[in-house]
């Protein structure tokens, strides 16, 4: 007689052994994520020990659904390693290896000291998988193919690091939630003398607008502000690219998990220092974007959920909290670097410097950008 549960238990055992072997076969050179590989192997070994102890339950029909649920939980844990981590650590390209070291340097300088190792995976989208079970110390950073060729996207790496910061410090989420609640409470209190029916309708609209700000949307907005904080003008230009480069309507409120691009650009604009905002590079590109975005013509729902007042509140609270919670993270308050200085000699470049310099050269000396960047990227540290 055959039954499903022991069959599944045998498969799980096979998957455990296979995954362990695959992790063992991963390269372990000096530029490879050895710490991460050790963490993954340790996790698989822990699961194997538990599996062995619980195996009698998986083969005993009296345990019924509990055995199946447990096998399902084990498979989900293994799938997380197989689906997210293994593709990133098994076949690492030279660019991924180089980027890993560049990103590791950046996260340390930016104060994300909890990150002990990371791996870069050119999977097509800029993204991060920051949390492995309960820990934040071994993220997978996903980038577009040939990421370093796309200098306008470089500040996006800081946005991705922001996800790790947002998960590390719940204070950011709490503060943004409090600002959100305070903003809409004030609007509710400000409702003037209207009929009961009108008041009911207005209150429903406000509830809907407040509920629009899901945890995911708050997280994305925080990450934009984090990138703005550390990358200044270069991030502002990158945000304009994010909005205009995709052809997506700037005030689209229907993007799953994201605020409208216009709100994202706006919070970064609000986070500029007066000097940065007045700089010609930023001023001209933002003017281009204003013409493109047509925020004045946005529908009433956009105006309700993304009012400038609310976006400014988000910006202020994040900018106030960042130096308190991450005192080692330097805010970028500088202007775009001078082209003569950029073209001068240097021994090495950090990701933060490269981001500023590459965009400067692309803007001011596109004729030499190709040759300049080919040399500069060799000096990324």
């Amino acid at each position: 007689m055959y039954s499903y549960q022991p069959l599944k238990a045998d498969e799980v055992k096979f998957v455990l052994v296979g995954l362990h072997e695959r992790l063992d076969a991963c390269p372990r050179g000096s530029r490879d994520p050895v710490f991460m590989l050790d963490c993954l192997k340790e996790r698989v070994e822990d699961i194997a020990v538990l599996y062995e102890a619980e195996e009698p339950a998986f083969r005993d029909p009296d345990f019924g659904l509990d055995g199946l649920n447990r096998l399902g939980a084990i498979m989900a844990s293994l799938a997380l390693i197989e689906e997210e981590y293994l593709p990133a650590v098994a076949h690492v390209t030279d660019e991924e290896r180089a980027l890993r070291l560049v990103f590791l340097g950046a996260v340390q300088r930016l104060g994300l000291h909890w990150i002990k190792d990371l791996v870069v995976h050119s999977s097509g989208n800029l993204a991060i998988f920051p949390k492995f079970f309960a820990v934040l110390d071994i993220p997978v950073v996903h980038v577009q193919a040939n990421f370093l060729d796309k200098c306008l996207c470089l500040p996006g790496a800081f946005h991705e690091f922001g996800h790790s910061v947002f998960l590390k410090f719940v204070e950011f989420y709490n503060a943004m939630k409090a600002e959100l609640a305070a903003h809409f409470d004030a609007l509710r209190k400000a409702i003037g003398p209207v009929t009961e029916e009108q008041k009911k309708r207005l209150l429903e609209d406000l509830d809907e607008a407040q509920a629009y700000w899901t945890d995911s949307r708050l997280a994305e907005l925080f990450c934009d502000l984090f990138a703005q904080y550390v990358a200044g003008c270069a991030n502002m230009i990158s945000m304009v690219d994010l909005s205009m480069g995709t052809g997506q309507p700037a005030c689209d409120t229907d993007i799953q998990g994201y605020p409208p691009d216009a709100a994202r650009v706006k919070v970064c604009e609000f986070a500029l220092t007066p000097e940065q905002a007045a700089s010609s590079e930023v001023k001209h590109l933002l003017a281009d974007w204003e013409r493109y975005a047509e925020v004045d013509r946005a529908d009433s729902f956009y105006r309700d959920v993304c009012s400038e007042k609310l976006l400014r509140r988000f910006t202020i609270v994040v900018l106030e909290l960042l130096p308190k919670l991450m005192p080692q993270t330097q805010r970028n308050v500088s202007l775009m670097p001078d082209i003569e200085a950029v073209l001068g000699p240097y021994d090495s470049l950090t990701l933060e410097e490269a981001t500023q310099r590459a965009i400067t050269v692309l803007m001011k000396r596109p004729d030499i950008y190709d040759s300049w960047w080919r040399e500069a990227r060799k000096k990324l540290a």
């Binding site: 619980e54 509990d66 055995g67 939980a73 997380l80 998988f129 996800h163 998960l167 994305e220 998990g257």
Partner: protein, 137 residues
């Protein structure tokens, strides 16, 4: 950019909870069946498992009885029960009773424990779905 960052946080939270709950339920079931020795579980581990499952049920019962809002996982259980044509209030009152029994070390019936396993199964299915979404993002 993608919502992977948020998905990662959600998987970490949900998978951790499901991992714990499924482990504790195995221990509680083994105790009910008199098979603790076969799984090499200590008496302390069984006591701890009962305590943790009781805490889970204490937090869940008021949500199912409409007396509290609940977190995302508790709301999911409520939704799944409603979608499945179950009476959440019945589950809520049963869970309050099961929790009391666990705390008083009163022997549970298979039927009682099956109800707990059923709702933990909803959470397990949800987290498996989240992990599957990693493939299709």
């Amino acid at each position: 950019m993608s919502t992977l960052g948020q998905l990662s946080g959600s998987i970490a939270q949900n998978l951790g909870r499901v991992d714990d709950l499924t482990k504790w339920l195995i221990a509680v079931r083994a105790d009910m069946l008199g098979k603790v020795a076969a799984l090499k579980l200590s008496a302390e581990q069984v006591v701890e498992a009962k305590k943790k499952v009781a805490e889970f049920l204490d937090a869940l019962a008021p949500v199912l009885e409409g007396k509290a809002d609940g977190d995302n996982q508790q709301k999911l259980i409520l939704k799944r029960l409603v979608d499945g044509g179950r009476q959440p209030t019945d589950y809520g009152s049963d869970f309050a009773g099961i929790s009391s029994a666990m705390k008083s070390n009163i022997k549970l019936t298979a039927e009682q424990l099956n109800k707990v396993s059923e709702v933990v199964g909803y959470l397990q299915g949800e987290v498996a779905g989240e992990v599957r979404r990693l493939r299709s993002r």
